[in-house]
């Protein structure tokens, strides 16, 4: 057997740089696609608008739903952002199956790209797609009078949380796609998962109002930590309920674990 001459050991630093570069190539691919066909970004704006303008406005009149003196429209805006990100990310797997059917996944896998870079690149792609949602929701939140925090470091924090949340749920979706492998089965599971994830979280109602069993479930749901972080970062004078440190720790650790699992399963989708 001849030695791996072409893939000579290059040291940890060079390997890390190569890993990051490959990850960004996958993200670049997504940006190129979006630039050629931005219609999806616009059609995606409808749903959050309905939630924020209709649901949020009506429910702000319900007494008792306000948590800790926060206006309900303020309360729900970060929840709707998290929800829009979740909806984009959770169906990301369908795109993976589509790429498999086209033969694109196969070509990625045949290239000398680390599987984890392919999966992380896909996750960041979902993050890029989700950033447009953040912009849309900020634009909608201004006329509704949400007390937004425009501090640059807070905005940067929101950006990071959105990308992290999208990465987490899109990788979860990729894992499901790698397991079920067909579009039909995936659609069923995707629809089955979305609503429970959404309702068993603090996105549209405070955890304190939930029955005990639902409170327990919410605390196991990464979406809760995403919403909690978004609420603390997006709104003026709203502190995190769970602690920003815990929020970031949960989001980062879960994402890393999912990417590692996804990297193991991703080659399966091509067979």
């Amino acid at each position: 057997m001849k030695p791996d001459a072409l893939a000579a050991p290059r040291g940890a630093w060079a390997n890390l740089r190569a890993f990051v570069a490959k990850t960004l190539v996958m993200t670049e691919l997504e940006i190129l696609r979006l630039r050629h066909d931005p219609t999806e970004l616009i059609s995606r704006a409808v749903q959050p608008a309905l939630w924020l303008l209709v649901f949020g406005q009506v429910f702000s009149r319900v007494r008792g739903i306000t948590a800790g003196g926060v206006r309900y429209t303020d309360f729900i805006a970060p929840g709707i952002l998290a929800q829009s990100v979740l909806f984009i990310a959770i169906f990301y797997g369908i795109g993976i199956i589509w790429e498999r059917d086209l033969g694109i996944v196969q070509k990625f896998l045949v290239s000398p790209t680390p599987r984890s870079a392919l999966v992380l690149g896909k996750a960041l792609s979902a993050g890029v797609r989700s950033l447009s949602q953040a912009i849309i929701i900020y634009l909608l939140a201004i006329p509704v009078g949400v007390h937004l925090n425009w501090n640059p470091s807070a905005l940067l924090g929101v950006l990071v949380v959105v990308v992290l949340g999208a990465s987490l749920f899109s990788t979860f979706s990729l894992i499901i796609a790698c397991l079920v492998k067909t579009r039909e089965r995936f659609m069923g599971i995707g629809q089955f998962l979305t609503m429970p994830l959404f309702f068993a979280s603090n996105a549209i109602f405070p955890i304190v109002l939930m029955p005990h069993w639902l409170q327990v479930l919410s605390h196991c749901n990464p979406l809760t930590y995403q919403v909690d972080a978004l609420r603390a970062l997006m709104l003026v004078g709203h502190a995190s309920d769970l602690g920003l440190g815990l929020d970031f720790a949960v989001l980062i650790i879960v994402t890393i674990l999912l990417v590692l699992l996804g990297a193991r399963l991703y080659p399966n989708v091509a067979t």
Binding site: M1, K22, L102, K107, A270
Partner: protein, 264 residues
Amino acid sequence: MAIVETFALSRWFGGVRAVDGLSITVDACEVFGLLGPNGAGKSTTVKMLTTLLRPSAGRATIDGYDLVRQASSVRRVIGYVPQLVSADGSLTGAENLRIFAKLYDIPHTEQRARIDEALEFMGLTNAAHAVVGTYSGGMIRRLEIAQSMLHRPRVLFLDEPTVGLDPSARKAVWEHLRSLREEFDTTIVMTTHQMEEADGVCSRVAILHQGQVAVIGTPAELKASLGAEGATLDDVFIKYAGTSLESGGYREARRTRRTARRLG
């Protein structure tokens, strides 16, 4: 000199032996054809040789690298054009190439020249900045070949390269492949259904039947072995693979038709 060698390479799915003890040798600069009816194990063989599928047993080397233990080295020396339409239709031809130039670690300073050269070689310079969705089937195939050659692979794997193409597009694809091979000394391993095409382009062919090599040799040898005057490769195929062209099933049929539709 052998560039692809397999030693009792096998893959089974459940109890089905898709590839069963395949031992073949492909020499450098050959155009080697893997023929056989649907379900004979052609695609499974190519998937194993391109590292997409792990062998269940046996081993193989490509350019001296072990297929399983040195998979990432193998990936650097091979190119692959799947049967499916694998170019991204929403990007331009040049963008498709750029993404893969980066994935294959082609130095930044060389990328542009390589991409331009690949486009020119495949006769796509004028269409470089058009969205691939507007390409004809033959152009898409040529783009995919251009992409698979960017990193100058030693071995190029083509899975049914001309399925769904009309005769003139098919001819153009083969002319380009031939000049590419002469220019860069690339070995080509391809699967095909088209006996006439295999006869015309392959230096050697192996006819697979139920996961095993039924017969192997140059097209001329195989035809002569039948002993009949004017025998074609079709006759050889029928003799060794039976007439079981109907096998393969729903998934295979659906995939082939989808490819044909997208190219047509």
